[in-house]
């Protein structure tokens, strides 16, 4: 039988215990505040989908860990303060990410926020950052909205956006003789905007092309056989692919099995990134035009230094995410030094137009739309020594694939 009185008293005790548990964290924060200002580290709150997408976020985490170690070994930031990262998992959910951001801000007293992988989580944290007037460096999300239609004063983005990567590929696609195109993309904002941009930009350069079929598999649930068959039935001369991860692997296997790629060129977003290419081992597609990161072949001094340090520290080769994580924290350190303070508005001012050296070469955070000009490598996939890699690649500098300052000003909401 139920005794309400007793169960309620149980509730009360647990509520009291909870209160105690939640307040237990604060004394250390108080103690820190008591320390001299110069000894306090600068704290960066970092949020990412570590459990949701470990294959991508763990190389990313190692990247920023390396950067933090390097920065602190060289004396930290702001003339001797240590850089400290407080990292949290968002479980792949935007509402959890917002709670964690709040926790980082009010309990951990972080000076700025960074991270995120999924576009919707990036947007949620960006909106939170604007609301709380704290700078946020979106590391990995690709959506154009984060710097354009939903852009805000406090949010910056490092990785080349969907638009930029589509524009890089259109440049190559326009050179192909193909006139009949088919597209296959995951059915959500990333896939949709990639296809929209690709179509629009390609038609601008090649008014003679037509798009004869589109497939929109649900993300992670590609029905490979039917999709491949449907694409083949439209008899396109070339295919634009936006699927990735497990869907891509299915598409490639089934497509090879059913001869979809025979005598057809494929242009594919992100497929050259080692995160996507390497799991396919010797079945990686041959001859696809992709954006990616041929880590073993880039021999610029800044990249070599990064690759060597990363290899020495983690005993593995870097991934695209490693570069993003590394560059994110390097950018934050540079912005702190440029601002000379952790004061949010001075940091925002410092980020605008901030230039620094990344493993991919010099990059600049544009003042107009807060997008970094970090680029990507455009090339052709191939299989070498039993694993997928890129050949005939070139570095496409992001600056060349962004609309002008005036054009993006019209896209961004007024501050």
């Amino acid at each position: 039988m139920l005794h309400r009185r007793q169960t309620l008293s149980l509730l009360m005790t647990s509520a009291a215990a909870l209160t105690a548990a939640l307040t237990a964290g604060s004394p250390s924060a108080l103690a820190q505040a008591a320390l001299a200002q110069s000894a306090t580290p600068v704290r960066v709150g970092e949020i990412n989908s570590y459990t949701g997408l470990p294959a991508f976020t763990i190389p990313y985490r190692q990247g920023w860990q390396l950067a933090v170690e390097e920065i602190n070994a060289k004396g930290g930031v702001l003339g001797g303060r240590k850089l400290e990262v407080v990292s949290r998992d968002d479980a792949g959910k935007p509402d959890d990410a917002v709670r964690v951001a709040q926790e980082l801000l009010s309990s951990e007293k972080v000076d700025l926020l960074a991270g995120t992988y999924f576009s919707h989580i990036g947007l949620a944290v960006a909106d939170f950052a604007a609301r709380n007037k704290v700078p946020f460096v979106a590391a990995e999300p690709l959506t154009d909205a984060i710097t354009w239609s939903k852009g805000n004063r406090y949010s910056f983005r490092l990785r080349p956006s969907t638009y930029m990567q589509a524009a890089m590929l259109v440049e190559e696609a326009a050179k192909l003789p193909a006139k009949r195109w088919a597209t296959v993309a995951p059915n959500y904002e990333y896939g949709q905007s990639a296809v929209t941009w690709f179509k629009q930009l390609l038609k601008e350069k090649r008014p003679d092309v037509e798009f004869v079929a589109e497939q929109w598999p649900a993300q992670g649930k590609l029905e490979a056989g039917p999709t491949v068959q449907a694409l083949a039935a439209a008899n396109p001369e070339a295919i634009f692919n936006v699927t990735f991860g497990a869907d891509l692997a299915k598409l490639v296997r089934e497509g090879e099995g059913r001869g979809l790629f025979k005598n057809r060129r494929v242009v594919s977003l992100l497929t050259g990134e080692p995160e996507y290419l390497e799991p396919m081992k010797d079945e990686a597609p041959e001859g696809w035009i992709v954006t990616g990161y041929p880590w073993e072949q880039i021999d610029t001094p800044e990249h070599k230094a990064f690759r060597d340090a990363y290899g020495a520290r983690f005993k593995e080769s870097p991934r695209q995410g490693s570069v993003v994580g590394y560059a994110t924290l390097k950018a934050i350190a540079a912005a702190l030094d440029k601002a000379g303070s952790t004061e949010p508005d001075r940091l925002v001012a410092a980020f605008r137009g901030l230039s620094l050296s990344s493993p991919f070469g010099p990059i600049t955070f544009r003042a107009s739309d807060h997008q970094a000009t970090m680029g990507a490598y455009v090339g052709v996939t191939t299989v070498k020594d039993g694993r997928g890699t890129m050949k005939d690649w070139r570095y496409a500098d992001g600056a060349a694939y962004l609309p002008s300052d005036e054009a993006v000003r019209a896209l961004r909401p007024a501050e």
Binding site: M1, L2, R5, T7, A91, P94, L123, G220, G225
Partner: protein, 609 residues
């Protein structure tokens, strides 16, 4: 023509996999009545085990098929172990409680598999001898898919032989029809159940291992599989093998041809199909009249009004109201979320605890409330109070519509119909980008200036939630609540005394929906943004878990469960990357220690002393 034929063949290959996995689920449910959430996890384990074995031994034809068989056996052994170690201890708990246990297992398996095999997708070897394709009327078709197409009917045939020609099979069928009678006649149900779990899990493992040559093995296979398997099982009719086979065939063809006709709605096609089938056929395609469904409260105790419960509630409220003065900002935010989730859980409890209706899609109304509020702000520029008032109305309206269909079904069919409606709502939010913002959601839904302080917003939340909870409690002890409980305990007798059971259930559905909607509206303003993830299956599952943790038979159970679950999740998540493992183990431990929910067990312990 040849193209259509090959498309149909592709659909058959998909169907074969679907059938293998869902046949296991339907057998397990048919005999044990366990809604086994861990079935998808067992399929994933089969795939990973298969990958490891095939990498090692899969070079030859014998090695490959031996590896597949071994992986399937491995999954079967794990399933049997789960029955012995966990489920067996829960047979005397309310039936739904095993669902909570298996949910804990899902979490544990997710982390364990990531830890053993690493986070990266694993591309396995192709089946030796079956790498190429054959030309069918001039269209290339993979050989391996042809083998899969043959395998589906083969397994169906073998299962048919097993169930009709062996003693064990006859016993299983007897237990399926009447568990108590079978055990009264001397059949040891425990051994039978272990065997059934073994068989069901081995089938799941087989389905998983057979995917290795077709796709990269990955960590999301469990969730992708379980939902589809449930759909197949329900469309086919719970416990019916031929039904599952037929449903798998239909769904395979639907997906193969659906993408030709409507490439944009692949997200919901199967759920739309399931909704249509369930609306037209109460027990799926081949289901028999009501298989004793999982009822939330089998031997439901009579709820009683506590004498001084009101005063204690006031005391608790006062304590909570004072909290912002004592604790920091972050604690206030966690408390705000806990209060909101308590209302959300309590609203689901109206259905489960009072109505005996288990909903798998309650997140739809939470999400509708959140979206209702957010859309009012976005498109009409409504101020916060108006948006908050709109939230329960929008959600209540949605619940009225969905509820009209849902309450016409019972048991797991009801549950799956609510899930179908939730998925349809989710996909509307996900796809209608112009209106709902699509998967990028709606941003900037922050409280009005006067309520923007965290403490003020907490007080507002507390006041509204406490008010709503008081109303729900009032409803539970009003004639409405008694009628609802009467319908739960015996629909027949309730009808005979003149209670319109269905009508009461319908209104309860709407009431629960609007209370969840208010919770959703408050949640939207607490977070500043809404996303389709608020309506995802996982949110519905979380709500179920909260109720079951607290205990279904008490009014305060869901509140304690919500508080406990949210606290566990948010604090464990902060502490470690392996939070799913810890959370899963905690849930399993709680299930074993408190087989009737935390509050349920504590209150009955007091009762005895």
């Amino acid at each position: 023509m040849s193209f259509l034929l090959v498309q149909a063949l592709s659909g058959l290959a998909t169907a074969a996999t679907l059938f293998l996995v869902s046949s296991g689920l339907t057998i397990v449910f048919g005999v044990t009545r366990i809604v086994n959430f861990a079935h998808g996890s067992l399929c994933m384990i089969g795939a990973y085990l298969g990958w490891s074995l095939i990498e090692r031994f899969g070079g030859s034809v014998g090695g490959f098929w031996g590896s597949v068989a071994l992986a399937s056996l491995g999954a079967g052994v794990l399933g049997a172990a789960m029955e012995v170690g966990l489920l067996r201890r829960l047979y005397r708990s309310p039936e739904l409680f095993q669902l909570l246990g298996t949910f804990g297992v899902v979490l544990v398996v997710q982390d364990a598999v990531a830890w053993i095999w690493g986070p990266e997708d694993l591309m396995g070897r192709r089946a030796p001898g079956l790498k190429g394709s054959v030309d069918i009327l001039g269209q290339p078709f993979p050989l391996y898919d042809l083998v899969l197409i043959g395998l589906g009917p083969l397994v169906l045939g073998l299962l048919w032989l097993l169930f009709t020609r062996t003693r064990w099979g006859v016993l299983v069928r007897a237990a399926t029809q009447d568990r108590d009678m079978a055990s009264a006649l001397g059949v040891d149900p425990a051994r039978l159940f272990t065997g059934v779990l073994f068989l069901g899990s081995a089938l799941a493992g087989l389905g998983g291992a057979l995917q290795v040559p077709r796709e990269a093995v990955n960590l999301h296979m469990d969730m992708a599989m379980i939902v589809e398997a449930f759909v197949v099982v329900v469309v086919g009719g719970m416990g019916s093998l031929t039904g599952a086979f037929l449903a798998a065939l239909l769904i395979g063809q639907l997906q193969a041809f659906g993408i030709l006709v409507f490439p944009q709605i692949t997200l919901v096609l199967v759920f739309l199909f399931m909704a249509v089938v369930l609306v037209l056929r109460p027990h799926g395609l081949m289901g028999r009249a009501e298989e004793a469904p999982p009822a939330a409260a089998t031997a439901a105790p009579v709820l009683r009004l506590g004498n001084r419960g009101g005063w204690i509630a006031v005391g608790l409220l006062a304590l909570l109201a004072a909290a912002p003065l004592l604790v920091g900002d972050y604690a206030v935010i966690v408390l705000t979320e806990m209060v909101i989730l308590a209302l959300f859980a309590a609203s689901l409890h109206v259905l489960i605890g009072l109505g005996g209706l288990v909903s798998f899609g309650h997140a739809a109304y939470f999400g509708l409330g959140a979206y209702g509020a957010a859309l009012l702000v976005r498109h009409l520029g409504a101020p916060m109070p108006l948006a908050l008032a709109g939230a329960p109305l929008v959600a209540g309206l949605g619940a009225l519509i969905a509820g009209w269909f849902c309450v016409r079904r019972s048991g797991l069919y009801f549950a799956m119909l609510t899930l179908a409606f939730a998925q349809i709502t989710w996909s509307v939010a996900f796809q209608w980008s112009g209106f709902t913002g699509g998967d990028n959601g709606l941003l900037g839904i922050w409280p009005s200036a006067w309520a923007s302080g965290k403490a003020v917003y907490f007080w507002l939340t507390l006041a509204l939630c406490a008010g709503a909870l008081a109303l729900l409690r009032r409803a539970a002890f009003a004639p409405f609540g008694y009628a609802l409980r009467a319908g739960r305990d015996s629909a027949l007798r309730a009808e005979s005394v003149g209670i319109d059971v269905r009508r009461h259930q319908w209104f309860a559905f709407a009431l629960a929906g609007s209370a969840a909607g208010l919770a959703g509206g408050l949640y939207a303003f607490a977070k500043g943004s809404v996303f389709p993830t608020l309506m995802a299956v996982s949110v519905s599952v979380d709500a179920l878990v909260m109720i079951l943790l607290g205990g279904v038979q008490t009014v305060s159970g869901p509140l304690a469960g919500a508080a406990l679950f949210h606290l566990l999740e948010s604090q464990v998540m902060r502490a470690t990357d392996l939070w799913r493992l810890l959370l899963g183990l905690t849930i399993v431990a709680l299930v074993l220690l408190f087989p009737r929910g935390v509050v349920g067990v504590l209150s009955s312990r007091r009762e005895r002393s």
